[in-house]
Structure formats: C-alpha cells, structure tokens
C-alpha cells in the first residue's frame, strides 16, 4: 500500500494545489517557529530572574519573573496549538512522505512527544502553583521546562536534518524494508542544524524580550526595573550571538560539502569553477547573477578554507532540479546581515560595559535594541527559507520529490485560504493580547503575589 498508487496519483497533482500545500506548510511552520523559540528561550531567562530574586531578595527580579511567566502562559498555549496543527499537516498535506517515511522519522517525533509532555506538566505546575510551593521547589519545577524545551527543539530538528541528509533506511521497490531509527535521527546534518537552531531560539527570545524594555525606556521609563528587564535578556542573547555566527559558519561548510546545489543557490553560482568570488546582493536573471558586488575568491575561501577551491555551480544540475535561486540567495544574505548586525550591537554593549560598567547611554543604542528582536526573528525565518527552499525540488533530499509527496486530493487551495484566514486572526489576537500584557502597569496583578506587593514601579 505504499507507492503503487502514489506514482499514478502524483500525475494528477495540480500545480495550484501543490503550491498551496507548500505555502500552507511554510506559513504554519514559520508561525510556529517563532512561538517555539520563545517557548525554548523564555523559561530559561525567567528562571534566571526568579533565581536572582530569590538569592538577592530584590523584588525587581521577582516582579520580572512574575510578568514573564504570565506572558509565557499565553505564548505556550498558542505555541502548543500551532504545533498540533503541524502534526496534522504532515499527514494532511504530505501523505506521500508519511506513508513511506513516517516510520523513519517517527522516533524523534515520539521522543518529542515525551518532551512536550514534560514541558506541559511542569509548566502547569510552575505557572499555577507559584504560591503553593516554597521558592526552591518552585524554581526546581521550572528546570524541566527548560530542559524539555531544548530537547524538543533538538528532536524536531533531527527530523528536518534527516530530510536534508536522509540516512538509516533501505528501500526495495518503493517500500521501506529496513530502518535504523537511531541512524536516521543522528544523520550527518543533525549536529550543525540542531546546535544552530537551539542557539537561534535563545537569541530570538532574548532579543525579543529586551526589545520590549528598550521600547519602554525610549518612552521614558528608565527606572531600575525597566533597565533590569532590558539587561538580563539582552545579556543572554548578546553572549550567544558570536557563538551563533561561528556555528552558522559550520552550517555553511556542511552545506558546501553535502548539498552543493543548495550552496550554489545560496551564493548564486551558476558556473562550476575555482577561486569563485563571494556575491553580495544581486538578482539572478536568465541563468546569471547580475548587479552583485563581488569579493574575489571569497566564496572558495569561506566555503572550503582555500581561495582556489572548486565550487560546483548550478549548471551541473538540470534546471528542473534547481531550487529558486533568488529566494534562497536573498534569504541567506538577510540571515547573515542580521547576524552581523546583532553582533555589532552586542559588541557595542560589551565595549561600553567593559569601559564604564554600564550600558551605552546613547538613544541610538536603545533604538537599535528595540529592533533587535525583529532582526533576530528575521534571521530565523530567513535561515529556514534557506534550508527548506534550498532543498527543493526534493522533500527528502535526493530521495523523494515534493510533488510526489503532496496529497493528490483536489481543493487544497481552499484549505490554504481557510488556514491563512485563521492565522491572520490568530496573529492579530496574539499581538493584541501581548500588547495588553506589556502595556499594563507593571504592578503585581493579584493579591496572592505577596512576594512582590508594595514594589513601586513608574
């Protein structure tokens, strides 16, 4: 019952439905991933605040922890439901992938289920039992949330890594006959991708939280409470940024060695050659990258640590098997640009801290920081576009084409329309509710928050 009907059905796939399915997947994944990053990063940062509050007795930290926890409650709920949709969509949109390879990538998803469970259980305890538990057990109840969040990011990205570097199975006549689930999970792409993703989650969470306080400070609320609310998440994210750029370099080397077509698309290289320049900007027109700034030998040097290294161009691949160059090229440029910009911001803060023991006083620093959350999210989305669009036309690299995996049922376009409408509503409502939470005066919300009552904030 595997692929007999599949090939026949694939002929019937309508272009519009295929496109709709891909867009729907991209929309729901791109939406979920933001929430997922906050879900991985925020609990850790909140725990740091709660812990500092406990150790120093400073109500600033305690109040921050309370308020972040309240936002986390909302974000987790939205993250959980948007993730559930994804597991439906794997089957609704890509039955051709799941019917053959569902069992190959099943293990990480099953383990992810365990991690979600742990996360949801301890989140329930952490959020709702703040006053039923003494401080230390309450802090400890938060630790599994962090561990499970990181673990779930790891597991799910191993599944994606497998789609980039499929290993651990053998196929006979279109049927999977033997599977080594561990080998599939720990495929060659797993190390760079999971590390890059987990660091991205902390960057996104840290910069996004810092952005909120940067905006408040720009509006004149510069008391100690807001400064702390800015500095703690900013410090976490800024410390990770340089590491992330190193890891990004590792990811790029990996792609250069293992997915040369993707690399060629990322860099807009059409002709195979040695000593290939690095292209900045530019648009691909008729099999040529135009109007790009060229850095001589740059790409060969960066990709293989050798200015004369050979780079395989897109000309080696038939046009039908190439990913869309402009999308991948620009997405890559945007990710790298955002990464470097965030690095500059982090260095600015570090230098000022080193010299004066305080954050830069310039309003420009706050303005830039107010945008840092957006920049991190942009890098995140762009990175996924590089990874996923750069993999096209394969859904499983070199093994299964996206068009052979899509659900052949008619009318996927309408599903996409419906899903888009719901997501627009969800986005509006989420932003609205989060703004309510952020704007509300930062006073303790309920009488039971006895540990922070009486702490004045402007």
């Amino acid at each position: 019952m595997n692929s007999g009907g599949l090939a026949a059905a694939a002929d019937a796939v309508r272009e519009a439905d295929l496109l709709a399915a891909r867009m729907q997947m991209a929309l729901s994944l791109g939406w979920h991933i933001i929430l997922a990053c906050l879900g991985v990063g925020m609990p850790a940062i909140t725990l740091i605040a709660e812990w500092r509050g406990h150790v120093t007795g400073d109500p600033r930290y305690r109040l921050l922890a309370r308020r972040w926890a309240r936002a986390m409650g909302v974000l987790f709920a939205v993250g959980a439901v948007s993730g559930t949709i994804l597991s439906f969509e794997m089957g609704l949109l890509w039955p051709g992938l799941m019917s053959t390879y569902g069992q190959v990538i099943g293990l990480p998803f099953a383990l992810e289920g365990v991690a979600f469970f742990i996360e949801a259980i301890f989140l329930g305890i952490y959020l709702y039992a703040w006053d039923r538990l003494p401080p230390i057990p309450h802090l400890l109840a938060g630790v599994p949330i962090v561990l499970a969040g990181v673990a779930s990011a790891f597991f799910v990205v191993t599944a994606n890594a497998w789609m980039q570097q499929p290993t651990g199975f053998s196929v006979e006549n279109g049927r999977v006959v033997a599977v080594d689930p561990w080998a599939a999970m720990f495929n060659p792409a797993t190390p760079p991708q999971t590390v890059h993703m987990i660091l991205a989650a902390f960057m996104v969470a840290g910069f996004a939280m810092a952005s909120v306080y940067a905006v408040a400070m720009l509006r004149g609320r510069r008391d100690r409470y807001h400064r702390t609310g800015f500095l703690l998440p900013f410090a976490v994210a800024a410390a990770i940024t340089p590491v992330q750029i190193g890891v990004g370099d590792w990811a790029a080397h990996f792609v250069a060695d293992n997915q040369p077509v993707k690399l060629a698309a990322m860099e807009g290289v059409f002709e195979t050659g040695r000593g290939v320049p690095l292209h900045l900007g530019g648009i691909a027109v008729d099999g040529q990258l135009r109007w790009a700034l060229e850095i001589p030998n740059g790409l060969s040097l960066l990709a293989h640590w050798d200015p004369d290294a050979e780079i395989v161009g897109l000309n080696e691949t038939p046009p039908a098997d190439r990913p869309p160059v402009n999308v991948v090229h620009w997405a890559f440029q945007i990710m790298v640009a955002m990464g470097l910009a965030l690095l500059a911001l982090a260095v600015w803060a570090a230098v000022s801290w080193w010299r004066h023991r305080e954050m830069p006083r310039s309003a420009w620093f706050l303005r830039a920081s107010a945008l840092s959350g957006l920049a991190a999210v942009l890098a995140l989305e762009a990175g996924w576009v590089v990874t996923e669009v750069g993999r096209q036309p394969w859904i499983v690299y070199g093994v299964l084409r996206t068009r052979d995996a899509v659900n052949p049922a008619p009318g996927l376009v309408w599903g996409f329309v419906l899903v888009s409408v719901i997501y627009v509503a969800l986005t509006v409502a989420s932003v609205y509710v989060l703004r309510l939470l952020a704007r509300g005066r930062p006073v303790p919300a309920a009488p039971q928050e006895s540990d922070v009552t009486g702490y004045p904030v402007t």
């Binding site: 019952m1 595997n2 007999g4 009907g5 926890a69 409650g73 939205v78 959980a80 439901v81 948007s82 559930t84 949709i85 439906f88 089957g91 609704l92 039955p95 051709g96 799941m98 019917s99 569902g102 069992q103 190959v104 099943g106 293990l107 998803f109 099953a110 383990l111 992810e112 289920g113 365990v114 469970f117 742990i118 949801a120 259980i121 989140l123 329930g124 305890i125 959020l127 709702y128 039992a129 703040w130 006053d131 039923r132 999977v176 033997a178 599977v179 080594d180 689930p181 659900n407 052949p408 049922a409 009318g411 419906l418 899903v419 409502a429 309510l436 939470l437 919300a445 309920a446 039971q448």
Partner: protein
C-alpha cells in the same frame, strides 16, 4: 509488536478522550452557561478546573498522531489524505480553542472576554464533533488504503459518522459535567454542584440514547462491526459500558460524586475498547494490523523509547494532578488563579 503498538496508541486515545475530552466538554458547558451575569460562576469553575491541566491533556492527541504515523505509516497517510476536510476543521478548532482560552484568561474587558469566550466555547463543540465523524468513517470502513482513495465527502458525511460525531460531543459534555460536579463540591460551591449534577444526568441520558441509536445505525451501515459488538468478542466491553453507564446515573442521583468519576470513565472506556476489539485485526478494509505495521526495528525502538518516557512522565503527571486536586490552602486564598 504491532499489536503492542496498537494497544499503546489506543491507551493514548483513551487518555485523550478521558482527560482532553472532558476539557472540550467543559467548553460546551461554557457555551450554554447563559449570559455574563448568570454564567459567571460556571465559567469561573470551568476556567479554574481546566486551566492548569489542559495543555498536558492535549499532548495525548499528539502522541496518538505521532505514534500512528510511526507504527502504521500507510494507515496514517490513508486516513489523513482521505479525511483531510474534517481533520483540517479539527486542527483549526484546536487552534481557535486553545488560543481563545488562553487569551480570555488574561483579558479584562467584557467584550474581549465575550469574543474569546465565544470562540473557545464554540470550537469546543465543533472539534469533538468532527473528530467523531472521523471515527465514524473508520468504523464504517469508508477509508480505503492508499492515498486519498476514499470519497472526500461521503467518507465522513454518512449516518455512522454523524451519530459518532454527536456521540463524541455527548461523551465529552457528560464527562465534563461529572468532573465539574465534584470540583464544585470540593470547592464548597453546593449550588454549582447541583447545577452540574443536573447537567450530568441529562448528558448521561442523552449519551446513552445516542449510543443505542449508534448501534441501530451500525447495524444498517457497518454490519460486521455491529455483529462483533453485539455477539462477538466485544460484547463484554459493551456490556461493561452499559452497566457502568447505568450505575453512574444512579450514583449521580445519590450524589456520590467521587465514585461516579470512576464509573463514568468506565462507561467511556467500554465504548472505546469495545470498538477497538470489535474492529481488530483490521485497521482499514483489507489492511490488517500486521500488514499496516512499520518495520520491527521501528516498533521495538519506539516502544522502548515510550517505556523510558513513561518512567519520567507518570510521576510528573501524578504530581500535576495531585497538586491541583488537593484542597485549597487553609487561608482560603484562591491560589490557583494564574499568575
């Protein structure tokens, strides 16, 4: 191995119906709780009872989905592709419900609470209905193997599916009313407990009638399953369900709210496992458990991973439920209000 996997999936499904289902049912009661004034106490109880646990309850569904595609990949693909319309609606219902519930909790203005509350309550009604139609499609053998081979519409718009959808709503509402009765009693809110007792009795009676109706429909629409249920292997489970259902109504009548939790759950378990046993060894028409299963290595590794996970999960779940089922602290402050 394949059987064990199936059993684990069915256990997950049972847990989802018993815990997650009750959350949906609570939303249904939220829907008919009346206007803002009259409904406040009921809505408060609903929010209070499901707030800390709904996310954990909801993960059971993810387990069922993921284990199905791991253990029975072809079956998963066949079901998802043929039934993509009701399943898309289920997915959207889940999104609307979870998000609206969380949003309502943190919004203060009346119109916001109304909007989010209505979304929450309405999707609580619609989602189990469509899940029920999916169950009906499977029970009546309308999902053939292969990708999108079944009829996209009649596979889930047919007598069995409609009854199953209604039954799903009934079961969730019934379970929720039973659980909420006890929660209200423990909270010392006698009047509220009485309200939910009446609702539980009504929902129980309606669900009983729907189950009987379901049997009649199955007899015409899915005779093989009907035979198994009424005279085959599944008969003891069906009998268990009927007996437990009747006992529950008696217990409710006599206000034994804690005991009725057990019997109500048993009635639902009998129904679910009766269906499962009556169906076995077929998963889809012409596809048995053995035919549909993943390779042995996948089944073994996944089952061991689940066993390892269970070692972590069971104590954690225990802690979660006991933390929130314990009586409130003596000072009377309602400390499970969200932070």
């Amino acid at each position: 191995m394949a059987e064990l996997m199936l059993a684990v999936i069915w256990l997950g499904l049972t847990a989802y119906v018993l815990f997650g289902g009750a959350d949906f049912g609570a939303g249904v009661w939220d829907l008919i709780a009346g206007n803002e004034e009259r409904g406040r106490a009921q809505r408060g109880l609903v929010e209070h009872s499901i707030g800390p646990v709904w996310e954990a309850n909801h993960v059971w569904l993810i387990f069922v989905i993921v284990l199905t595609w791991t253990g029975f990949p072809g079956v998963f693909a066949a079901v998802a592709s043929t039934l993509y319309i009701p399943l898309t609606l289920v997915a959207l219902g889940i999104i609307a419900r979870g998000a609206a519930f969380a949003f309502r909790k943190v919004s203060e203005e009346l119109w916001q609470r109304r909007l989010f509350g209505a979304t929450f309550a309405f999707s609580s009604l619609v989602t189990p209905f469509f899940l029920g139609t999916v169950a009906g499609a499977l029970a009546s053998g309308r999902v053939p193997p292969g990708i999108a081979r079944g009829d996209l519409v009649t596979s889930w718009l047919n007598p069995t599916s409609l009854v199953a959808g209604a039954l799903a709503v009934g079961v969730t509402a019934y379970l929720a009313a039973v659980y909420l009765t006890r929660d209200a009693q423990r909270g010392g809110e006698t009047a509220l407990a009485e309200t939910f007792r009446g609702r539980a009795l009504a929902a129980g009676a309606v669900t009983g009638v729907l189950s009987a109706l379901g049997l009649v429909v199955l007899r015409a629409d899915a005779p093989a399953l009907f035979r198994e249920l009424t005279s085959g292997r599944a008969l003891p489970l069906v009998a268990l369900s009927v007996v437990a259902g009747v006992v529950s109504l008696v217990l409710l009548w006599r206000r034994a709210y804690l005991a009725v939790r057990v019997t109500a759950a048993l009635a639902v378990i009998g129904l679910l496992w009766g269906w499962g046993v009556g169906w076995y060894p077929w998963l889809l028409p012409g596809v048995s458990v053995r035919d549909g299963a993943a390779t042995p290595a996948v089944l073994t590794v996944t089952l061991w991973a689940m066993a390892g996970g269970a070692v972590l999960l069971l104590p954690s779940l225990w802690w979660l439920y006991t933390t929130f089922q314990r009586a409130h602290p003596a000072d009377g402050s309602d400390s499970s209000t969200p932070v």
